[in-house]
Protein backbone atom coordinates (compact mmCIF):
# COMPACT_ATOMS: atom_id res chain seq x y z
CA UNK A 1 0.00 0.00 0.00
CA UNK A 2 1.54 3.33 -1.02
CA UNK A 3 1.37 6.40 1.23
CA UNK A 4 0.94 9.89 -0.16
CA UNK A 5 1.59 12.77 2.22
CA UNK A 6 0.61 16.13 0.77
CA UNK A 7 1.12 19.58 2.32
CA UNK A 8 0.94 18.29 5.91
CA UNK A 9 1.77 20.94 8.50
CA UNK A 10 1.41 21.27 12.26
CA UNK A 11 1.84 24.04 14.81
CA UNK A 12 1.70 23.52 18.57
CA UNK A 13 0.36 26.00 21.06
CA UNK A 14 -1.85 29.06 20.69
CA UNK A 15 -0.90 31.86 18.34
CA UNK A 16 1.77 34.07 19.87
CA UNK A 17 5.39 33.90 20.96
CA UNK A 18 5.00 30.51 22.66
CA UNK A 19 3.87 28.90 19.44
CA UNK A 20 6.15 26.31 17.88
CA UNK A 21 5.96 25.11 14.32
CA UNK A 22 6.50 21.36 14.45
CA UNK A 23 6.12 20.77 10.72
CA UNK A 24 6.41 23.03 7.68
CA UNK A 25 4.16 21.84 4.86
CA UNK A 26 5.55 18.38 4.07
CA UNK A 27 5.21 16.37 0.86
CA UNK A 28 6.31 12.76 0.75
CA UNK A 29 5.44 9.81 -1.49
CA UNK A 30 6.13 6.31 -0.24
CA UNK A 31 5.84 3.42 -2.66
CA UNK A 32 4.13 0.16 -1.98
CA UNK A 33 6.43 -2.16 -0.03
CA UNK A 34 9.05 0.47 0.69
CA UNK A 35 10.90 0.71 4.01
CA UNK A 36 11.45 4.38 4.74
CA UNK A 37 13.53 5.83 7.56
CA UNK A 38 12.72 9.23 9.01
CA UNK A 39 16.04 10.53 10.29
CA UNK A 40 16.71 13.69 12.23
CA UNK A 41 17.75 15.13 15.56
CA UNK A 42 15.20 15.47 18.35
CA UNK A 43 12.77 18.26 17.66
CA UNK A 44 13.09 17.85 13.91
CA UNK A 45 9.43 16.87 13.56
CA UNK A 46 10.00 13.27 12.51
CA UNK A 47 7.95 11.74 15.33
CA UNK A 48 5.17 14.28 14.79
CA UNK A 49 5.03 13.32 11.12
CA UNK A 50 4.89 9.62 11.99
CA UNK A 51 2.13 10.20 14.53
CA UNK A 52 0.14 12.22 12.00
CA UNK A 53 0.42 9.38 9.48
CA UNK A 54 -0.79 7.03 12.22
CA UNK A 55 -3.68 9.31 13.13
CA UNK A 56 -2.44 9.77 16.72
CA UNK A 57 -2.09 13.50 15.99
CA UNK A 58 -4.12 15.69 13.69
CA UNK A 59 -2.38 17.84 11.09
CA UNK A 60 -3.49 21.48 10.80
CA UNK A 61 -3.88 21.06 7.04
CA UNK A 62 -2.89 18.81 4.18
CA UNK A 63 -3.92 15.28 3.29
CA UNK A 64 -2.79 11.69 3.67
CA UNK A 65 -3.70 8.88 1.30
CA UNK A 66 -3.09 5.18 1.80
CA UNK A 67 -3.25 3.93 -1.80
CA UNK A 68 -6.39 5.55 -3.21
CA UNK A 69 -8.02 5.82 0.24
CA UNK A 70 -8.08 9.32 1.76
CA UNK A 71 -7.41 8.70 5.47
CA UNK A 72 -6.91 12.32 6.53
CA UNK A 73 -10.12 12.33 8.58
CA UNK A 74 -10.15 8.63 9.43
CA UNK A 75 -9.80 7.75 13.14
CA UNK A 76 -6.63 5.84 14.12
CA UNK A 77 -8.53 2.70 14.95
CA UNK A 78 -9.99 2.54 11.43
CA UNK A 79 -6.81 3.43 9.54
CA UNK A 80 -5.51 -0.14 9.43
CA UNK A 81 -2.04 0.73 10.62
CA UNK A 82 0.33 -1.15 12.86
CA UNK A 83 2.26 0.99 15.33
CA UNK A 84 5.35 0.00 17.29
CA UNK A 85 6.29 2.23 20.23
CA UNK A 86 9.77 3.05 21.46
CA UNK A 87 9.11 1.63 24.91
CA UNK A 88 7.13 -1.30 23.49
CA UNK A 89 3.88 -0.29 25.27
CA UNK A 90 2.99 -3.93 25.87
CA UNK A 91 0.01 -4.48 28.14
CA UNK A 92 1.85 -5.64 31.22
CA UNK A 93 -1.08 -7.47 32.77
CA UNK A 94 -1.57 -9.67 29.68
CA UNK A 95 0.47 -12.67 28.65
CA UNK A 96 2.50 -12.50 25.44
CA UNK A 97 -0.24 -14.50 23.77
CA UNK A 98 -2.99 -12.11 24.89
CA UNK A 99 -0.97 -9.10 23.82
CA UNK A 100 -0.63 -10.42 20.29
CA UNK A 101 -4.26 -11.54 20.20
CA UNK A 102 -5.54 -8.21 21.51
CA UNK A 103 -6.29 -6.61 18.15
CA UNK A 104 -8.08 -9.71 16.88
CA UNK A 105 -10.16 -9.99 20.05
CA UNK A 106 -11.04 -6.31 19.82
CA UNK A 107 -12.72 -6.74 16.42
CA UNK A 108 -16.51 -6.38 16.33
CA UNK A 109 -18.17 -9.75 16.74
CA UNK A 110 -19.09 -10.32 13.10
CA UNK A 111 -15.55 -9.58 11.86
CA UNK A 112 -13.81 -11.48 14.62
CA UNK A 113 -12.23 -14.79 13.62
CA UNK A 114 -13.11 -17.91 15.60
CA UNK A 115 -11.08 -18.72 18.70
CA UNK A 116 -9.18 -21.45 16.82
CA UNK A 117 -8.37 -19.11 13.97
CA UNK A 118 -7.12 -16.46 16.41
CA UNK A 119 -5.07 -19.12 18.11
CA UNK A 120 -3.40 -20.34 14.96
CA UNK A 121 -2.79 -16.79 13.73
CA UNK A 122 -1.19 -15.72 17.02
CA UNK A 123 0.99 -18.81 17.19
CA UNK A 124 2.07 -18.20 13.60
CA UNK A 125 3.05 -14.62 14.48
CA UNK A 126 4.91 -15.78 17.58
CA UNK A 127 6.75 -18.28 15.45
CA UNK A 128 7.68 -15.53 13.06
CA UNK A 129 9.20 -13.49 15.90
CA UNK A 130 10.68 -16.70 17.31
CA UNK A 131 8.85 -16.48 20.64
CA UNK A 132 6.45 -19.47 20.48
CA UNK A 133 7.86 -20.81 23.72
CA UNK A 134 7.09 -17.56 25.53
CA UNK A 135 3.36 -17.37 24.80
CA UNK A 136 2.35 -17.74 28.45
CA UNK A 137 4.96 -15.39 29.89
CA UNK A 138 4.25 -11.85 31.00
CA UNK A 139 6.06 -8.89 29.40
CA UNK A 140 8.08 -8.18 32.54
CA UNK A 141 9.64 -11.64 32.24
CA UNK A 142 11.09 -10.87 28.79
CA UNK A 143 14.19 -8.94 27.77
CA UNK A 144 13.84 -5.62 25.99
CA UNK A 145 14.57 -7.16 22.60
CA UNK A 146 12.01 -9.90 23.14
CA UNK A 147 9.42 -7.37 24.26
CA UNK A 148 9.94 -5.34 21.13
CA UNK A 149 9.49 -8.46 19.01
CA UNK A 150 6.19 -9.14 20.79
CA UNK A 151 5.18 -5.55 20.08
CA UNK A 152 5.96 -6.10 16.43
CA UNK A 153 3.97 -9.33 16.28
CA UNK A 154 1.09 -7.52 17.97
CA UNK A 155 1.23 -4.70 15.43
CA UNK A 156 1.25 -7.16 12.53
CA UNK A 157 -1.61 -9.31 13.85
CA UNK A 158 -4.31 -7.35 12.05
CA UNK A 159 -2.39 -7.42 8.74
CA UNK A 160 -2.06 -3.64 8.63
CA UNK A 161 -1.69 -1.76 5.35
CA UNK A 162 1.11 0.27 6.83
CA UNK A 163 3.58 -0.44 9.62
CA UNK A 164 4.80 2.56 11.59
CA UNK A 165 7.66 2.35 14.06
CA UNK A 166 8.64 5.10 16.48
CA UNK A 167 12.33 4.73 17.41
CA UNK A 168 11.73 0.99 17.63
CA UNK A 169 15.21 0.09 18.82
CA UNK A 170 15.98 3.26 20.74
CA UNK A 171 15.55 1.70 24.18
CA UNK A 172 17.72 -1.35 23.47
CA UNK A 173 21.43 -1.83 23.94
CA UNK A 174 23.77 -1.74 20.97
CA UNK A 175 24.17 -5.45 20.34
CA UNK A 176 20.46 -6.30 20.53
CA UNK A 177 19.71 -3.32 18.36
CA UNK A 178 22.04 -4.60 15.64
CA UNK A 179 20.44 -8.02 15.74
CA UNK A 180 16.89 -6.70 15.63
CA UNK A 181 17.68 -4.39 12.77
CA UNK A 182 18.90 -7.23 10.60
CA UNK A 183 15.93 -9.29 11.58
CA UNK A 184 13.45 -6.51 10.72
CA UNK A 185 15.12 -6.11 7.35
CA UNK A 186 14.59 -9.83 6.65
CA UNK A 187 11.03 -9.70 7.85
CA UNK A 188 10.35 -6.78 5.58
CA UNK A 189 11.84 -8.55 2.59
CA UNK A 190 9.67 -11.54 3.35
CA UNK A 191 6.34 -9.84 4.01
CA UNK A 192 6.69 -6.64 1.99
CA UNK A 193 4.59 -4.38 4.15
CA UNK A 194 5.01 -0.66 3.57
CA UNK A 195 6.74 0.82 6.53
CA UNK A 196 7.92 4.05 7.95
CA UNK A 197 10.20 4.24 10.94
CA UNK A 198 11.62 7.07 12.98
CA UNK A 199 15.19 7.11 14.22
CA UNK A 200 17.86 9.54 15.31
CA UNK A 201 20.59 6.99 14.64
CA UNK A 202 22.11 7.55 11.18
CA UNK A 203 23.63 4.10 11.07
CA UNK A 204 20.25 2.53 11.68
CA UNK A 205 18.60 4.67 9.00
CA UNK A 206 21.29 3.87 6.44
CA UNK A 207 21.30 0.17 7.20
CA UNK A 208 17.55 -0.42 7.17
CA UNK A 209 15.96 1.98 4.75
CA UNK A 210 15.22 1.73 1.07
CA UNK A 211 15.14 5.49 1.18
CA UNK A 212 15.98 7.87 4.01
CA UNK A 213 14.11 11.09 4.72
CA UNK A 214 16.40 13.49 6.58
CA UNK A 215 14.52 16.09 8.60
CA UNK A 216 15.43 19.12 10.65
CA UNK A 217 13.35 21.93 12.14
CA UNK A 218 10.14 20.55 10.71
CA UNK A 219 11.48 20.46 7.16
CA UNK A 220 12.62 17.67 4.86
CA UNK A 221 16.28 18.27 4.04
CA UNK A 222 16.75 15.38 1.63
CA UNK A 223 15.03 12.22 0.44
CA UNK A 224 17.42 9.70 -1.06
CA UNK A 225 18.69 6.15 -1.01
CA UNK A 226 21.33 5.55 1.68
CA UNK A 227 24.01 5.37 -0.97
CA UNK A 228 23.11 8.68 -2.62
CA UNK A 229 22.64 10.30 0.74
CA UNK A 230 26.13 9.46 1.83
CA UNK A 231 27.77 10.31 -1.46
CA UNK A 232 25.75 13.32 -2.49
CA UNK A 233 24.40 15.06 0.59
CA UNK A 234 22.06 17.89 -0.43
CA UNK A 235 23.39 20.36 2.10
CA UNK A 236 25.70 20.93 5.01
CA UNK A 237 23.10 19.78 7.55
CA UNK A 238 22.72 16.37 5.91
CA UNK A 239 26.47 16.01 5.53
CA UNK A 240 27.07 16.89 9.14
CA UNK A 241 24.25 14.73 10.49
CA UNK A 242 25.30 11.61 8.63
CA UNK A 243 28.72 11.29 10.16
CA UNK A 244 31.75 12.88 11.80
CA UNK A 245 33.16 15.84 9.96
CA UNK A 246 36.39 17.82 9.89
CA UNK A 247 36.45 21.52 9.04
CA UNK A 248 39.03 23.45 7.10
CA UNK A 249 38.49 27.17 6.79
CA UNK A 250 40.80 29.56 4.98
CA UNK A 251 41.38 32.10 2.23
CA UNK A 252 41.56 30.96 -1.37
CA UNK A 253 43.76 32.77 -3.80
CA UNK A 254 44.65 31.47 -7.24
CA UNK A 255 43.00 28.11 -6.44
CA UNK A 256 45.09 27.55 -3.34
CA UNK A 257 43.56 27.63 0.14
CA UNK A 258 45.81 28.93 2.88
CA UNK A 259 45.28 28.67 6.59
CA UNK A 260 48.24 29.53 8.80
CA UNK A 261 51.15 27.49 7.57
CA UNK A 262 48.84 24.98 5.86
CA UNK A 263 48.14 25.05 2.13
CA UNK A 264 46.05 22.94 -0.20
CA UNK A 265 45.26 23.16 -3.90
CA UNK A 266 41.55 23.66 -4.55
CA UNK A 267 41.04 23.62 -8.31
CA UNK A 268 38.01 25.49 -9.58
CA UNK A 269 37.28 27.51 -6.44
CA UNK A 270 37.03 31.26 -6.73
CA UNK A 271 39.11 33.54 -4.53
CA UNK A 272 37.73 34.52 -1.12
CA UNK A 273 37.04 32.93 2.28
CA UNK A 274 35.73 29.34 2.17
CA UNK A 275 34.78 26.52 4.47
CA UNK A 276 35.58 22.99 3.32
CA UNK A 277 34.49 19.78 5.05
CA UNK A 278 35.83 16.27 4.95
CA UNK A 279 35.04 12.94 6.57
CA UNK A 280 37.54 11.09 8.82
CA UNK A 281 38.04 8.32 6.24
CA UNK A 282 38.77 10.87 3.55
CA UNK A 283 42.07 11.71 5.20
CA UNK A 284 45.19 9.70 4.56
CA UNK A 285 48.50 10.37 6.27
CA UNK A 286 52.06 10.56 4.91
CA UNK A 287 55.50 11.40 6.22
CA UNK A 288 55.91 14.08 3.58
CA UNK A 289 53.71 16.77 2.15
CA UNK A 290 52.65 16.37 -1.48
CA UNK A 291 53.00 19.14 -4.05
CA UNK A 292 49.28 19.81 -3.80
CA UNK A 293 48.73 19.67 -0.06
CA UNK A 294 50.90 20.86 2.80
CA UNK A 295 48.88 20.11 5.95
CA UNK A 296 51.26 19.42 8.88
CA UNK A 297 49.53 17.72 11.84
CA UNK A 298 50.50 16.10 15.16
CA UNK A 299 48.88 12.89 16.38
CA UNK A 300 47.37 13.67 19.79
CA UNK A 301 45.33 10.51 20.50
CA UNK A 302 45.14 6.96 19.17
CA UNK A 303 42.08 4.72 19.53
CA UNK A 304 42.06 1.35 17.77
CA UNK A 305 38.43 0.43 17.02
CA UNK A 306 37.79 -2.83 15.19
CA UNK A 307 39.06 -2.77 11.63
CA UNK A 308 40.43 0.72 11.82
CA UNK A 309 42.37 3.12 13.98
CA UNK A 310 40.92 6.46 14.94
CA UNK A 311 43.39 9.26 15.29
CA UNK A 312 43.00 12.72 16.67
CA UNK A 313 45.09 15.25 14.80
CA UNK A 314 46.13 18.66 16.10
CA UNK A 315 47.79 21.61 14.44
CA UNK A 316 48.27 25.35 15.00
CA UNK A 317 46.20 26.12 11.94
CA UNK A 318 43.23 24.05 13.15
CA UNK A 319 40.54 25.45 15.41
CA UNK A 320 39.29 22.06 16.54
CA UNK A 321 41.29 18.86 16.13
CA UNK A 322 40.58 16.61 13.17
CA UNK A 323 39.47 13.04 13.41
CA UNK A 324 41.00 10.56 10.94
CA UNK A 325 40.36 6.84 10.53
CA UNK A 326 43.01 4.76 8.85
CA UNK A 327 43.60 1.04 8.35
CA UNK A 328 45.85 -0.97 10.67
CA UNK A 329 48.17 -1.61 7.74
CA UNK A 330 48.78 2.12 7.20
CA UNK A 331 49.01 2.64 10.95
CA UNK A 332 51.84 0.14 11.22
CA UNK A 333 53.57 1.25 8.06
CA UNK A 334 53.74 4.85 9.31
CA UNK A 335 54.75 3.68 12.78
CA UNK A 336 52.35 6.13 14.40
CA UNK A 337 52.81 7.06 18.03
CA UNK A 338 51.41 9.90 20.07
CA UNK A 339 53.12 13.18 19.24
CA UNK A 340 54.24 12.01 15.81
CA UNK A 341 54.29 14.71 13.16
CA UNK A 342 52.72 13.79 9.83
CA UNK A 343 51.06 15.36 6.81
CA UNK A 344 47.39 14.99 6.06
CA UNK A 345 46.34 14.27 2.48
CA UNK A 346 42.61 14.71 1.89
CA UNK A 347 41.19 12.47 -0.82
CA UNK A 348 38.00 14.52 -1.05
CA UNK A 349 36.76 17.90 0.09
CA UNK A 350 33.15 18.95 0.29
CA UNK A 351 31.87 22.45 -0.09
CA UNK A 352 28.37 23.62 0.84
CA UNK A 353 28.68 27.41 0.88
CA UNK A 354 28.01 27.69 -2.86
CA UNK A 355 24.58 27.51 -4.46
CA UNK A 356 25.33 23.96 -5.60
CA UNK A 357 27.07 21.58 -3.19
CA UNK A 358 30.28 20.34 -4.76
CA UNK A 359 32.82 17.68 -4.06
CA UNK A 360 36.35 18.26 -5.20
CA UNK A 361 39.31 15.97 -5.43
CA UNK A 362 42.30 18.11 -4.53
CA UNK A 363 45.10 15.62 -4.61
CA UNK A 364 45.71 11.97 -5.15
CA UNK A 365 47.89 10.31 -2.62
CA UNK A 366 51.31 10.00 -4.04
Amino acid sequence: MSIRIARIDKTYGAKGPGQTRALEPIDLDIHDGELIGLLGPSGSGKTTLLRIVAGLEQADSGSIHFGERDVTRVHVRDRRIGFVFQHYALFRHMSVYDNVAFGLNALPRRERPSTEEIRSRVMQLLEMVRLQAFAKRFPAQLSGGQQQRVALARALALKPDVLLLDEPFGALDAKVRQELRRWLRHLHEELHFTSLFVTHDQEEALELSDRVVVMSNGRIEQIATPDTLYRQPANRFVFEFLGDINRLEGDVEREVLTCGNARIAVPGIASGRHELLLRPHEISLATQASDRAHLPVTVSAIVPVGAEVRLELEADWLGEPWLATIGHEAFERLDITRGKRLFALPSQLHRFDAAQPTTLIPATAS
Binding site: G55, L56, E57, H75, V76
Partner: protein, 275 residues
Protein backbone atom coordinates in the same frame (compact mmCIF):
# COMPACT_ATOMS: atom_id res chain seq x y z
CA UNK B 1 -3.34 13.19 20.98
CA UNK B 2 -5.77 10.35 20.83
CA UNK B 3 -6.95 9.03 24.17
CA UNK B 4 -9.61 6.61 25.22
CA UNK B 5 -12.90 8.31 26.04
CA UNK B 6 -12.12 11.60 24.32
CA UNK B 7 -15.17 11.53 22.05
CA UNK B 8 -17.23 14.67 22.87
CA UNK B 9 -20.36 12.69 23.72
CA UNK B 10 -18.60 10.39 26.16
CA UNK B 11 -16.75 13.30 27.71
CA UNK B 12 -19.90 15.33 28.26
CA UNK B 13 -21.80 12.38 29.70
CA UNK B 14 -19.05 11.47 32.18
CA UNK B 15 -18.33 15.04 33.29
CA UNK B 16 -22.06 15.68 33.66
CA UNK B 17 -22.62 12.57 35.76
CA UNK B 18 -19.57 13.28 37.91
CA UNK B 19 -20.64 16.86 38.58
CA UNK B 20 -24.23 15.89 39.34
CA UNK B 21 -23.19 13.18 41.80
CA UNK B 22 -20.58 15.42 43.46
CA UNK B 23 -23.18 18.13 43.88
CA UNK B 24 -25.70 15.71 45.38
CA UNK B 25 -23.35 13.84 47.71
CA UNK B 26 -20.81 16.48 48.69
CA UNK B 27 -21.90 20.00 47.87
CA UNK B 28 -25.51 19.71 49.01
CA UNK B 29 -24.63 18.52 52.55
CA UNK B 30 -22.08 21.32 52.85
CA UNK B 31 -24.63 23.92 51.81
CA UNK B 32 -27.24 22.36 54.10
CA UNK B 33 -25.04 22.86 57.17
CA UNK B 34 -24.88 26.61 56.68
CA UNK B 35 -28.49 26.85 55.54
CA UNK B 36 -29.70 25.09 58.69
CA UNK B 37 -27.46 27.18 60.91
CA UNK B 38 -28.78 30.42 59.44
CA UNK B 39 -32.35 29.20 59.13
CA UNK B 40 -33.62 31.54 61.84
CA UNK B 41 -31.48 34.47 60.79
CA UNK B 42 -28.13 35.93 61.73
CA UNK B 43 -29.26 37.17 65.14
CA UNK B 44 -30.17 33.71 66.33
CA UNK B 45 -26.91 32.41 64.87
CA UNK B 46 -24.87 34.90 66.91
CA UNK B 47 -26.92 34.19 69.98
CA UNK B 48 -26.29 30.46 69.59
CA UNK B 49 -22.60 31.06 69.15
CA UNK B 50 -22.43 33.05 72.36
CA UNK B 51 -24.21 30.32 74.26
CA UNK B 52 -22.26 29.53 77.41
CA UNK B 53 -21.99 25.80 76.70
CA UNK B 54 -21.02 26.35 73.09
CA UNK B 55 -18.23 28.70 74.15
CA UNK B 56 -17.04 26.14 76.66
CA UNK B 57 -17.06 23.47 73.94
CA UNK B 58 -15.04 25.73 71.65
CA UNK B 59 -12.54 26.30 74.43
CA UNK B 60 -12.17 22.60 75.20
CA UNK B 61 -11.84 21.74 71.51
CA UNK B 62 -9.06 24.30 71.12
CA UNK B 63 -7.29 22.93 74.17
CA UNK B 64 -7.44 19.40 72.77
CA UNK B 65 -6.05 20.51 69.43
CA UNK B 66 -3.34 22.63 71.07
CA UNK B 67 -2.10 19.65 73.08
CA UNK B 68 -2.59 16.94 70.48
CA UNK B 69 -0.96 18.56 67.48
CA UNK B 70 2.45 19.37 69.05
CA UNK B 71 2.70 15.97 70.73
CA UNK B 72 1.95 14.15 67.50
CA UNK B 73 4.24 16.50 65.62
CA UNK B 74 7.20 15.57 67.80
CA UNK B 75 6.36 11.88 67.70
CA UNK B 76 5.73 11.90 63.95
CA UNK B 77 9.05 13.56 63.15
CA UNK B 78 11.07 11.27 65.42
CA UNK B 79 9.34 8.18 64.08
CA UNK B 80 9.81 9.24 60.45
CA UNK B 81 13.49 9.99 61.12
CA UNK B 82 13.89 6.62 62.81
CA UNK B 83 12.30 4.45 60.13
CA UNK B 84 13.65 6.28 57.09
CA UNK B 85 17.19 6.97 58.23
CA UNK B 86 18.08 3.76 60.06
CA UNK B 87 17.77 0.08 59.41
CA UNK B 88 17.07 -2.04 62.47
CA UNK B 89 15.20 -5.22 63.32
CA UNK B 90 11.50 -4.53 63.85
CA UNK B 91 11.40 -1.51 61.59
CA UNK B 92 8.54 -2.91 59.48
CA UNK B 93 6.65 -3.96 62.61
CA UNK B 94 6.88 -0.45 64.01
CA UNK B 95 5.55 0.99 60.76
CA UNK B 96 2.65 -1.44 60.82
CA UNK B 97 1.87 -0.68 64.48
CA UNK B 98 1.31 3.00 63.91
CA UNK B 99 -1.29 2.21 61.26
CA UNK B 100 -3.50 0.55 63.86
CA UNK B 101 -5.44 3.73 64.72
CA UNK B 102 -6.48 3.95 61.06
CA UNK B 103 -8.00 0.49 61.20
CA UNK B 104 -9.59 0.68 64.62
CA UNK B 105 -13.14 1.91 65.00
CA UNK B 106 -13.05 5.09 67.09
CA UNK B 107 -15.45 3.53 69.58
CA UNK B 108 -12.97 0.71 70.15
CA UNK B 109 -10.25 3.30 70.64
CA UNK B 110 -12.33 4.97 73.31
CA UNK B 111 -13.10 1.61 74.89
CA UNK B 112 -9.47 0.53 75.33
CA UNK B 113 -8.67 3.80 77.11
CA UNK B 114 -11.68 3.37 79.31
CA UNK B 115 -10.51 -0.12 80.19
CA UNK B 116 -7.09 1.21 81.12
CA UNK B 117 -7.87 4.40 82.98
CA UNK B 118 -11.50 3.88 83.99
CA UNK B 119 -12.61 3.31 87.58
CA UNK B 120 -12.36 -0.47 87.19
CA UNK B 121 -9.38 -0.31 84.86
CA UNK B 122 -5.79 -1.39 85.47
CA UNK B 123 -4.61 2.03 86.45
CA UNK B 124 -8.01 3.25 87.56
CA UNK B 125 -7.62 2.18 91.19
CA UNK B 126 -4.24 3.84 91.55
CA UNK B 127 -5.43 7.02 89.84
CA UNK B 128 -8.51 7.08 92.04
CA UNK B 129 -6.41 6.73 95.16
CA UNK B 130 -4.30 9.69 94.09
CA UNK B 131 -7.38 11.66 93.08
CA UNK B 132 -6.32 11.96 89.45
CA UNK B 133 -9.20 11.90 87.02
CA UNK B 134 -8.46 10.99 83.44
CA UNK B 135 -11.67 9.44 82.20
CA UNK B 136 -14.70 11.70 81.87
CA UNK B 137 -12.35 14.69 81.99
CA UNK B 138 -10.21 16.59 79.54
CA UNK B 139 -7.02 14.48 79.92
CA UNK B 140 -8.90 11.43 78.66
CA UNK B 141 -10.22 13.36 75.69
CA UNK B 142 -6.69 14.49 74.84
CA UNK B 143 -5.30 10.96 75.19
CA UNK B 144 -7.82 9.31 72.87
CA UNK B 145 -7.43 12.13 70.38
CA UNK B 146 -3.67 11.57 70.37
CA UNK B 147 -4.31 7.88 69.78
CA UNK B 148 -6.69 8.48 66.89
CA UNK B 149 -4.55 11.11 65.15
CA UNK B 150 -1.03 9.78 65.75
CA UNK B 151 -0.46 8.21 62.30
CA UNK B 152 -1.19 11.32 60.23
CA UNK B 153 2.10 13.22 60.39
CA UNK B 154 4.29 10.12 60.22
CA UNK B 155 2.29 8.83 57.27
CA UNK B 156 2.87 12.06 55.36
CA UNK B 157 6.59 12.17 56.18
CA UNK B 158 7.70 8.56 55.77
CA UNK B 159 7.12 8.06 52.02
CA UNK B 160 8.59 11.47 51.25
CA UNK B 161 11.70 11.03 53.40
CA UNK B 162 12.15 7.54 52.02
CA UNK B 163 12.08 8.87 48.47
CA UNK B 164 14.48 11.69 49.30
CA UNK B 165 17.06 9.35 50.81
CA UNK B 166 19.73 10.45 53.26
CA UNK B 167 22.52 11.54 50.92
CA UNK B 168 22.26 15.19 51.87
CA UNK B 169 22.17 14.44 55.59
CA UNK B 170 25.25 12.24 55.21
CA UNK B 171 26.99 15.05 53.37
CA UNK B 172 26.15 17.33 56.31
CA UNK B 173 27.66 14.81 58.74
CA UNK B 174 30.91 14.76 56.78
CA UNK B 175 30.92 18.55 57.08
CA UNK B 176 30.74 18.18 60.85
CA UNK B 177 27.18 19.38 61.47
CA UNK B 178 25.41 18.36 64.68
CA UNK B 179 22.17 16.37 64.67
CA UNK B 180 19.96 19.32 65.41
CA UNK B 181 21.67 21.47 62.78
CA UNK B 182 21.29 18.72 60.19
CA UNK B 183 17.60 18.41 60.91
CA UNK B 184 16.93 22.12 60.97
CA UNK B 185 19.07 23.16 58.02
CA UNK B 186 19.03 20.13 55.71
CA UNK B 187 16.00 17.93 56.42
CA UNK B 188 13.36 20.41 57.52
CA UNK B 189 13.43 22.56 54.37
CA UNK B 190 12.83 19.44 52.26
CA UNK B 191 9.89 18.16 54.29
CA UNK B 192 8.31 21.48 55.23
CA UNK B 193 5.24 21.09 53.04
CA UNK B 194 4.52 17.48 53.96
CA UNK B 195 4.95 18.39 57.63
CA UNK B 196 2.55 21.30 57.33
CA UNK B 197 0.05 19.11 55.53
CA UNK B 198 0.35 16.48 58.22
CA UNK B 199 -0.27 19.12 60.89
CA UNK B 200 -3.36 20.36 59.05
CA UNK B 201 -4.78 16.84 58.82
CA UNK B 202 -3.98 16.10 62.45
CA UNK B 203 -5.62 19.32 63.50
CA UNK B 204 -8.77 18.68 61.44
CA UNK B 205 -9.14 15.20 62.84
CA UNK B 206 -8.31 16.28 66.41
CA UNK B 207 -10.97 18.95 66.36
CA UNK B 208 -13.56 16.70 64.80
CA UNK B 209 -13.06 13.36 66.56
CA UNK B 210 -16.38 12.07 67.82
CA UNK B 211 -16.62 8.33 68.39
CA UNK B 212 -13.60 7.89 70.64
CA UNK B 213 -14.21 11.12 72.51
CA UNK B 214 -17.86 10.39 73.17
CA UNK B 215 -16.88 7.15 74.93
CA UNK B 216 -14.43 8.80 77.34
CA UNK B 217 -16.02 12.25 77.74
CA UNK B 218 -19.10 11.34 79.70
CA UNK B 219 -21.01 14.24 78.14
CA UNK B 220 -20.93 16.71 80.95
CA UNK B 221 -22.29 19.94 79.54
CA UNK B 222 -19.92 22.86 79.80
CA UNK B 223 -17.15 20.60 81.06
CA UNK B 224 -16.34 17.64 78.83
CA UNK B 225 -18.19 18.53 75.67
CA UNK B 226 -16.06 19.18 72.65
CA UNK B 227 -17.71 20.84 69.66
CA UNK B 228 -18.69 17.57 67.92
CA UNK B 229 -20.26 16.34 71.17
CA UNK B 230 -22.04 19.66 71.53
CA UNK B 231 -23.44 19.19 68.01
CA UNK B 232 -24.73 15.79 69.00
CA UNK B 233 -26.30 16.94 72.21
CA UNK B 234 -28.08 19.91 70.71
CA UNK B 235 -29.32 17.70 67.89
CA UNK B 236 -30.67 15.12 70.35
CA UNK B 237 -32.38 18.00 72.19
CA UNK B 238 -34.16 18.88 68.90
CA UNK B 239 -32.32 22.20 68.86
CA UNK B 240 -31.52 21.86 65.15
CA UNK B 241 -30.46 25.47 64.63
CA UNK B 242 -28.17 25.31 67.65
CA UNK B 243 -26.66 22.02 66.53
CA UNK B 244 -25.96 23.35 63.06
CA UNK B 245 -24.52 26.56 64.46
CA UNK B 246 -21.79 24.53 66.13
CA UNK B 247 -21.60 22.31 63.08
CA UNK B 248 -21.06 25.34 60.86
CA UNK B 249 -17.93 26.24 62.83
CA UNK B 250 -16.56 22.77 62.22
CA UNK B 251 -17.57 22.91 58.56
CA UNK B 252 -15.77 26.23 58.26
CA UNK B 253 -12.66 24.64 59.66
CA UNK B 254 -13.05 21.78 57.19
CA UNK B 255 -13.23 24.28 54.33
CA UNK B 256 -10.10 26.01 55.60
CA UNK B 257 -8.39 22.62 55.75
CA UNK B 258 -9.35 21.88 52.15
CA UNK B 259 -8.19 25.31 51.03
CA UNK B 260 -4.85 24.90 52.80
CA UNK B 261 -4.38 21.48 51.24
CA UNK B 262 -5.21 22.78 47.76
CA UNK B 263 -2.81 25.70 48.22
CA UNK B 264 0.01 23.41 49.34
CA UNK B 265 -0.55 21.06 46.41
CA UNK B 266 -0.72 23.94 44.00
CA UNK B 267 2.58 25.34 45.24
CA UNK B 268 4.22 21.94 45.07
CA UNK B 269 2.98 21.44 41.49
CA UNK B 270 4.20 24.90 40.52
CA UNK B 271 7.63 24.20 41.93
CA UNK B 272 7.76 20.92 40.06
CA UNK B 273 7.01 22.56 36.72
CA UNK B 274 9.53 25.32 37.49
CA UNK B 275 12.42 22.89 37.80
Amino acid sequence: MVRIGDAPGVRRLLIGTALALSALFLLLPLVAIFAQALMSGLDVYWQNLRDEYTLAAIGLTLLVALLTVPINLIFGVFLAWLVTRFDFPGRRLLQTLIDIPFAVSPVVAGLVYLLLYGRNGWLGGWLDAHDIQIMFAWPGIVLVTIFVTCPFIARELIPLMQAQGSREEEAAVTLGASGWTIFRRVTLPKIRHALLYGVILTNARAVGEFGAVSVVAGAIRGETNTLPLQVEQLYQDYNTVGAFTSASLLALLALLTLAAKAALEWRAARRETAT
